[in-house]
Symmetry: D2
Subunit: 397 residues, 4 copies
């Protein structure tokens, strides 16, 4: 950390609002650099210019944190089910490249850097604490060795696994944030959201919360429960939330992965910038001070968060030089009826149509109800065979 840059805890302890970034895997999948399915981040090595550009866009949008693009970059994931990423790269190589890019762009602004761990095939396959913590340690060390300012354990569905991850991170002397991909119903082993928060703090996390799997408003419902759990336990911790930018009122416990539209037909669910204004305000009012995004968040979503909280933060993001809040840029439109939309009330109250009259508004999620330990969740190095796929398709129908 440069001598002048203030760390994550300094900022949060001072009561500042810290704005996270958006979702790299989804954004880069649409740009052509990440494969949906494995979702692994070899682009940091293969196409650094694309990753660098996305970092810059989030920086412009107001992000205070540059998280190294290392999602799922644990060795066991890079070779899972036929993924060839590990043959070409090492996990360590990807993670180092990701750190370099994060540091490079962070230096262009006042941003701090972050290295993140997430759930592992090792845990999902039931290989136990020791094996799982080894995977975590290997990845976390790269982050520390490459100068990341703090660590994040994110995207965990089982509180037991994130406790193991937090324990590992705590040994490395950096501030630790921890977010689970759970909703108001709690984790997949039946632990309530409040209990999950308590256990994360007890395991050593400085900052706790929720990321991914649900839309902003469902996540905030979960955050209220986490906060209530911490209050009831007399514990203090900073709160953090990084939801999806997809509307998921119909998702059940496992979140958007169960929705039939995941991952290739989520478009009609994408949140607008106005949804993000409301999200940022509600998150702030709950007392959350680390506010960011996950899958689906594009730079303009983060900018909307930064714009909504401009007063509280005492500044607008750089990217607002290309955006006048609440549609005011439309004053320059050539058509008079579009200029008439340069009006906050217009955008705040609009319920946007889908243009899809043959689509319903909600969907019935797949509910296979399998959790860690279940045989269906055993991961493997070999590619999914034709026969396996046919069986799964038949089971679905």
């Amino acid at each position: 950390m440069s001598s002048t840059k203030r760390g994550i805890l300094e900022r949060l302890n001072a009561g500042e609002v810290v704005i996270g970034d958006g979702g790299f895997v989804f954004a880069l999948e649409k740009r052509g650099y990440v494969k949906a399915g494995p979702w692994t981040p070899e682009a940091a090595v293969e196409h650094p210019e694309a990753v660098r550009q996305l970092h810059r866009e989030f920086l412009r949008a107001g992000s205070d944190v540059m998280q190294a693009f290392s999602f799922y970059a644990s060795d066991d994931k890079l070779c899972n089910r036929g993924n060839e990423a590990k043959e070409k790269f090492t996990g360590a190589g990807i993670n180092k490249a990701a750190c370099d890019l994060a540091k490079e762009v962070a230096a262009e602004g006042n941003a701090i850097t972050l290295g993140g761990l997430c759930q592992t095939p090792t845990y999902l396959s039931g290989k136990g604490k020791k094996a799982t913590q080894e995977v975590f340690l290997k990845q976390a060390k790269v982050f520390v060795d490459n100068g990341m300012d703090f660590l994040l354990c994110e995207y965990f569905e089982h509180v037991e696994e994130i406790e193991w991850a937090i324990e590992v991170c705590k040994t490395l002397g950096k501030p630790v944030a921890a977010t689970m991909c759970i909703g108001p119903e709690g984790d997949l082993h039946g632990n309530s959201a409040g209990d999950c928060a308590v256990r994360m703090v007890k395991a050593g996390a400085d900052i706790v919360g929720i990321n991914c799997h649900f839309d902003p408003f469902v996540c905030l419902e979960g955050m209220r429960k986490m906060k209530a759990g911490l209050d009831a336990a007399g514990l203090k911790a900073h709160l953090m939330v990084q939801p999806l930018a997809f509307h998921t009122p119909d998702a059940k416990k496992q979140g958007f992965i169960d929705l039939p539209e995941f991952p290739f037909a989520l478009e009609p669910r994408i949140a607008t910038r106005w949804d993000m204004h409301r999200y940022a305000r509600e998150a702030y009012e709950i007392g959350i001070r680390y506010i960011g995004g996950c899958c689906g968040f594009e730079p303009y979503h983060i900018r909307a968060v930064a714009e909504e909280l401009a007063k509280e933060r005492g500044k607008l993001p750089k990217g607002s030089d290309k955006h006048d809040m609440w549609g005011q840029g439309l004053r320059m439109h050539t058509k008079p009826w579009v200029r008439a939309r340069a009006d906050r009330k217009y955008w705040e109250t609009l319920c946007p149509a889908s243009g899809r009259p043959y689509s319903a508004s909600l969907a019935n999620p797949d509910l296979w109800g399998v959790t860690a330990g279940n045989e269906d969740l055993m991961q493997q190095v070999t590619a999914t065979s034709e026969e396996e796929i046919k069986k799964l398709i038949a089971r679905k129908a």
Copy 2:
């Protein structure tokens, strides 16, 4: 043009499918580099790295054409209604920078370059043929001087104005393509789609068609009418289509600009990659051989077009190294029910839910019914005043 690169007409005359790119203004607005309202392309000068990156993504996605990012970069637009772009840059400066970026990235692949003109405030304000053609000539010359391989007149709502533009381009010795932003109902002066096609060809266009304003399927309906018009007139021309990536079955004559969601709440209308497979196939079957996209088209939409026509083109785009067609990449997903979606039929038949139960599926467009010549459409250099905006908002309500 390099000695080995084949030109646009060579390719089309040989019966090849040429794939266009997607929509720069909308994509770059979301990335933070274009302001909605004026929609002008000063990013070519201000943030060349962002424009270059988007070109590269379309190239990877399969685009054969790199169109210089010069939308609305005519001098009269750069200073319209308080736009300050002209104070900082000249139109010529922006257009030249855009050409440089297009050439640079085109050279990284086998792409050809394109310079595009579009409708002007000068015409809209009723200033006549001479004034309007001067605006066109000024911009088109920059394209030719900077080595663009061919010219495009696009996004015209009045066939009279595009005729003037084509005439200007024809004097410059390059192949000329011409697309209007009209639907099956024809142009804003009441000329049918078929007549528009005929007039564009008679004015000298080598390639004619439709771009922007409507979704792929509405545009193809218009293209069928254009083709029928040409056939009836005994005329031959190459066909080209570059639609929106937003569903607009409810748009009337003026297209998506009238929809209440334009431009900040169009998210639920965004097309999926599967919509694009269907679009590419239908366009091909109509006989259209220049197939691209406009506003809303992200790189993955273009890649879907290239993948659908991979057999006809004899190749997959580079970006397909991160995409297995029809969801096959999901075979590497950790969850079994998501692996079960590695299935073409699943994605082809899915009607995606919007996750927005308080939204309708269709919207009533604004229908102010004003066209070129109408006083409401007079453009001005001064910014829209508070009073003017209040009047417009009141008129809308």
Copy 3:
């Protein structure tokens, strides 16, 4: 006809608005007296009290015409595909009972009586003009013998068949009305709506129009085409329309029968009384003076038509003693926010929600594309066998 009661043509020639009744088979199916599938009217004999009551309700609602409940009461239909109605009753017996009920209730008000013929299995099975006209004559004679004031040929999908029916009716010395169950696309043999109108008038109909199969607004689109066809041919005739009370914007040529919801899940499509105000006004403005309803029209729908045209007719229906227009009765509600809905604008602009977030707004109709003469449409006396049903279900899937 009583000496003082004025006939249908007297009324229409005087420029009066004549209000028809609603749909007996659908209303009585919900009340438990008609079986969906055969849709035959043996209730006139089995449960006269139920039929009488429904007549009374329509009379109270403002109907000027009591149509004998004789839909599909031709002998060939009463024994079609396992229908046992013919074993218990004769067609003549049902038709006579229906006439008696119509006359009885008509005498309670100022109503005139009507006997109606409709399409026949004989025609559908391709048995030719002579056989078909015999079926018509048999039924029409009962109407005349039992004193019906005028005759109606309704619910025909092929103009050829309705011409045959009109010819038969014309021989009986009563005014003849004729309505086809077609939409703006015309009949099932490809004749345009305009041509159908012309042919019905040329065959002798005094009143022509459209009934059933489509919603009010689609039917009115068809009526505009019929009117234009008559005008172009220099023909004069009274116009009549009796649409569905179900919204069918998604129905194709064969109407609501093709919609997946037909006939047991049409509920979400039921029109409100406010839809009927709009329908009545638009029908009136087109110049239609015989305005009624078909399937789905309940008494309150007819009352809404009568209320909308109260000024033109110089009277309110009796049933309005239990209905204050535009929600004014809500002034007596106990809850203040419901009293606030005693407001015309509120109801005129409301887009009612379906309460069904898992339903789409439009459906894809079955489009088997079979018309008269096609083998699939051969009718038979024997019940549909298990095997036949299985084959049909398999063909559908």
Copy 4:
């Protein structure tokens, strides 16, 4: 009660399923005999033939109980806010006429008769226990004097008021049923559904449950809570449910009255017969044995309940002579693709479209949040004035 007819408790104690009737005020409003707003039942005197006919239809549909049509027939309601019913009739006169009709039709089948009390303007205006119980006693006595077999306190929003009603009924020596119009959230004073059930039983009710205000599935959620409350308190009582036939997933605590569609645009929310099959089955599985309907239930909805439980009851309703379960009557349809719908799976899985692409699926209810005691709920004899209405409309907007 005839010597051979078995009473309500005999039936329920023997474990039989008792089927209630449907909603008279809504059905008769559509037929033209009840005014929406006051919703009072003077039709029993004015149009006995209409009331009798509706009783008969429910009897045919399978109802075991004929409830006298006396909803809201307390004297204080008959003269509330300008209702003129009391000037023409006495409450006692209406109640007696209603009893006569119920008895007459009950005698045509094996039905038992029921007199029902409901919430009063007296309570809502805060006039206290004594005044309120006087209103109840006056009405209940008429039921007993006219031979109703048992009594029902229904449509109460405050458990305190229904306790007062139950107490009054208990003094009259008849079995007492009691249902509140509450959902899973409990009553308007904040008492949980479980507590409400306990208090009703403790006040003396033999049968307890829920009616009106919510759709079948929301009501069953409330019933589960009532059952759990009774179980926890160690109390035994028969369970009864009579929900709306309108889908109301979006209604909040006060139910469908708050929905913007109430009462004149509820059509798209009407349940299908297939919804009722599911409702009947789920209610039965919860252990509810008195299963009926409220507003929106037409005879065919009750028939569907009776058909679903035909096996448990050992009989089909009479009305099933015009209905073959699961669409089997469609085997007699003339069109082959409609015959293909004679298929249980088809109807069980269909999500019916609304035909209204400009409507959303859910609505935001009015939430004025006023409950008994609030000044806004004071009732009055004088009609709502113009000024009062204008104020309310302005407050709403």
